[in-house]
């Protein structure tokens, strides 16, 4: 999995979670929850698997497990390593 794919998955992870939480706090349409719930689950798993493929560092891999912002944290760590 490329860094680009990881970036897309990380964005989707955060956006889908935001949609779920906003929906929970406001209108709470069950349709939105049942569609964005599995979408968020997929994005989360994409981030975890993509991170395992891209990095062997234990800390980076654990960061991928953080809900919602895990993907962004991983990208930040990877970016720092690439620029260092």
């Amino acid at each position: 999995m490329s860094v680009r794919a990881l970036r897309i998955a990380a964005g989707a992870e955060l956006v889908t979670l935001a949609v779920l939480l906003v929906n929970l706090a406001t209108a709470h349409w069950p349709q939105v929850s049942s569609l964005f719930g599995p979408a968020h689950g997929c994005a989360y798993l994409f981030v975890v698997i993509g991170t395992v493929r891209l990095s062997t560092a234990a800390r980076t891999r654990v960061m991928a497990l953080v809900p919602g912002i895990g993907g962004l944290l991983v990208l930040r760590r990877l970016g720092r390593r690439l620029s260092a």
């Binding site: 999995m1 069950p30 349709q31 049942s34 569609l35 719930g37 599995p38 689950g41 997929c42 798993l45 994409f46 698997i49 993509g50």
Partner: protein, 144 residues
């Protein structure tokens, strides 16, 4: 909403698992035929990329099952177990062995391609079993 979830689940199964089945089956045969490494790398890439896309299948499958209220049914639990087994075979046996063959092409008549073909066949059979279970749904009362 069940119909939308089920459509995504079935579509993902066709789009993601289909290419993995075909490319993984071709891989050992092409190795034995002495194919160009670039072609083998492409086959391996198809397997690897679509295996990850395949995550969509069980995730939306679970969502569909929950929405249908069939999560506790025996046929579904067996399917989930077989899917987990198929994913393990693909992730821990098929993909790493493909990678090993790409890194160090085996000698002619070596055993590695035959072993890989066996694991790939096992993966394919597991998927056939899951697909048939999904269609037949033994013991289900929701109709054919």
């Amino acid at each position: 909403m069940t119909k939308v979830l089920l459509s995504i689940h079935v579509l993902a199964a066709i789009v993601a698992i289909g290419p993995v089945t075909v490319a993984a089956s071709m891989f050992p045969a092409r190795v034995r035929a002495g194919a160009d490494p670039a072609a083998l790398r492409t086959l391996h890439r198809i397997c690897r990329v679509y295996a990850v896309v395949g995550i969509v299948v069980p995730v939306f499958g679970l969502a569909t099952a929950r929405s249908l209220g069939v999560l506790g049914d025996a046929w579904l639990i067996v399917s989930i177990g077989l899917t987990a087994l198929a994913a393990t075979v693909l992730g821990l046996l098929v993909l790493p062995r493909q990678q090993r063959i790409l890194a160090a092409p085996p000698d002619r008549g070596g055993r590695a391609p035959a072993r890989l073909a066996m694991y790939t066949g096992t993966f394919n059979l597991l998927w056939v079993a899951v697909t048939v279970l999904m269609i037949v749904r033994p013991g289900s009362t929701t109709g054919a």
